[in-house]
């Protein structure tokens, strides 16, 4: 589903990714772990198409399509969801308006009919319930005044509504207390654990992986995947640290 080959990328002329290769198949959950500064967030932003993150070499295909050729909004319409480490606040735009605009823009790009206001609210209510987020929160402005945990849960509600094929979740577990971590983990499973979907979890810690069992764990260091293993690799890392394992 996602195939990254020899990816090199830089920001402001500074090389961050140095030949990263990774393949995630349909129905799989992969975790990427790594120390600070390894390039984890850069990888997420490059895949999302953030301006200023320049790919200098290598390729990324998503269901066989050259993803690097697509604009960020086209990647979303093609089925990519990027979960932000720091979800952005948008004063003056409600979650409901934002998400309805997002969903209908994606549907339009795929040649589907837009959802009506009523249909959309029904869907939003269902997904908010799944993540135990009060529907009132969705009437408020996007992420404005949300706690760290509420922002992350709201991200997962967005993911539920947009129903992507591939989710790249950048430290979705940071800022969550233990109960919220379980809710978010269960949300990821409910929304994404399907044979035609895939997840790339970027995380520092093993704890989210207790709830979302990865099929593969990769260690990212200095802009490359330096080691790949099964779920046991995450436990080993937790015990012994990056320096000993990678």
């Amino acid at each position: 589903m996602l195939k990254i080959e020899n990816l090199h990328a830089e920001i402001d002329g500074k090389q961050i990714l140095n030949g990263l290769t990774l393949e995630v198949g349909a129905g799989e959950v992969h975790a990427i772990m790594g120390p600070n500064g390894a390039g984890k967030s850069t990888l997420a932003y490059v895949l999302g198409g953030r301006p200023g993150y320049e790919v200098t070499e290598g390729s990324v295909t998503f269901n066989g399509e050259d993803m690097l050729e697509l604009e960020p909004h086209e990647r979303a319409a093609a089925g990519l969801f990027l979960g932000f480490q720091y979800p952005v606040e948008i004063p003056g735009v409600s979650n409901v308006q934002f998400l309805r605009e997002a969903l209908n823009s994606q549907r339009k790009a795929r040649g589907e009919e837009p959802l009506s206001g009523g249909e959309f609210l029904k869907l939003a209510k269902e997904k908010a319930g799944l993540l135990k987020l009060d529907m009132e929160m969705l009437k408020r402005n996007v992420n404005v005044g949300f706690s760290g945990g509420e922002k992350k849960r709201a991200e997962m509600v967005q993911m539920g509504i947009l129903d992507p094929k591939l989710a790249i979740l950048d430290e979705t577990d940071s800022g969550l207390d233990i109960d919220a971590l379980r809710t978010v983990g269960e949300g990821i499973n409910a929304i994404m654990r399907q044979p035609d979907k895939a997840v790339l979890l970027i995380t520092h810690y093993q704890r989210l992986l207790d709830y979302v069992q990865p099929d593969k764990v990769h260690i990212l260091a200095k802009g490359q995947i330096v080691k790949t293993g099964g779920p046991e690799l995450a436990l080993e890392l937790e015990r012994e640290g990056y320096e000993a394992v990678a």
Binding site: G49, I90, L99
Partner: protein, 252 residues
């Protein structure tokens, strides 16, 4: 015949950011054409002015408010040629003036609001919220004078101007002018000029919203403050719609 001696130029403080070429076309008739509104004690009035292509040029309004009266003016300056709304207000005890205005547009065009608010008696309040959104080589201006006369204690006057420039080459000017002769008053003014937040734009794109729709949402959120005090929500929607229609013309 127009009296050339009285016609303004950009050397006049109140016209310093105006379009000099447009000023040459002005006539005394236009300048003398004040729309006068007098509100008696406790009366309320809500007016809106849309200076679009059907109504460019200079529009002048003068308001006199009786005790406890409330006047609200909401305005858009979006014409494809010079557009200027001037509002002069005299407030008496306990009265309130609310102004919400948006200048929006591109081209090589100047659009501006000029307000002169006199707090002539104690306990009057005024609040002005102006938003400017421009591109190409357009200019958006707000000149706001607040005069608080001697003994107009407990005056509470506020003005806030913010501009977003969508392209290099566009500009915005603001000139708050506070003349305060009473000592127990609150007068606040703020101004900021910037660009649309690119991180907001990327976040929207990451959710599938194309750039032109994202820009519209951002501008909508930005200008909405100007109409936030409007009780008539349908009217507020209508004004917001006119603003966003103009944005739709932008070739960026």
């Amino acid at each position: 015949m127009s009296d050339l001696a009285t016609l303004p130029t950009t050397r006049d403080e109140d016209w310093r950011y105006a379009d000099p070429d447009a000023l040459k076309e002005l006539t005394a008739e236009v300048l003398d054409d004040w729309q006068e509104v007098t509100l008696s004690a406790g009366e309320t009035s809500v007016q809106s002015f849309v200076l679009d292509d059907t109504n460019p040029g200079v529009t002048r309004v003068r308001l006199a408010l009786g005790e406890g009266a409330r006047a609200e003016i909401y305005a858009i300056a979006s014409a494809s040629e010079y557009a200027r709304l001037e509002v002069e207000v005299t407030l008496t005890r306990g009265s309130h003036f609310e102004f919400g205005g948006v200048t929006i547009g591109g081209g090589d065009v100047t659009r501006e609001f000029v307000t002169r608010v006199t707090h002539a008696e104690p306990e009057a309040t005024s609040n002005q919220t102006i938003r400017a959104v421009h591109w190409n080589r357009a200019i958006g201006n707000f000149l706001g004078r607040i005069e608080v006369v001697r003994d107009a204690q407990k005056t509470d006057a506020a003005q806030n101007f913010r501009a977003i420039l969508l392209e290099k080459g566009a500009s915005a000017n603001t000139k708050p002018e506070l003349e305060i002769f009473a000592d127990d008053v609150k007068c606040a003014h703020g101004a900021a000029i910037g660009a649309l937040d690119p991180m907001e734009g990327f976040y929207m794109a990451a959710r599938g919203i194309p750039p032109e729709v994202a820009r519209k949402l951002q501008v909508q959120a930005f200008v909405a403050d100007a109409f936030a005090e409007m009780q008539d929500e349908a009217k507020a929607e209508e004004l917001l719609g006119k603003v966003l229609d103009r944005l739709g013309d932008a070739q960026l």
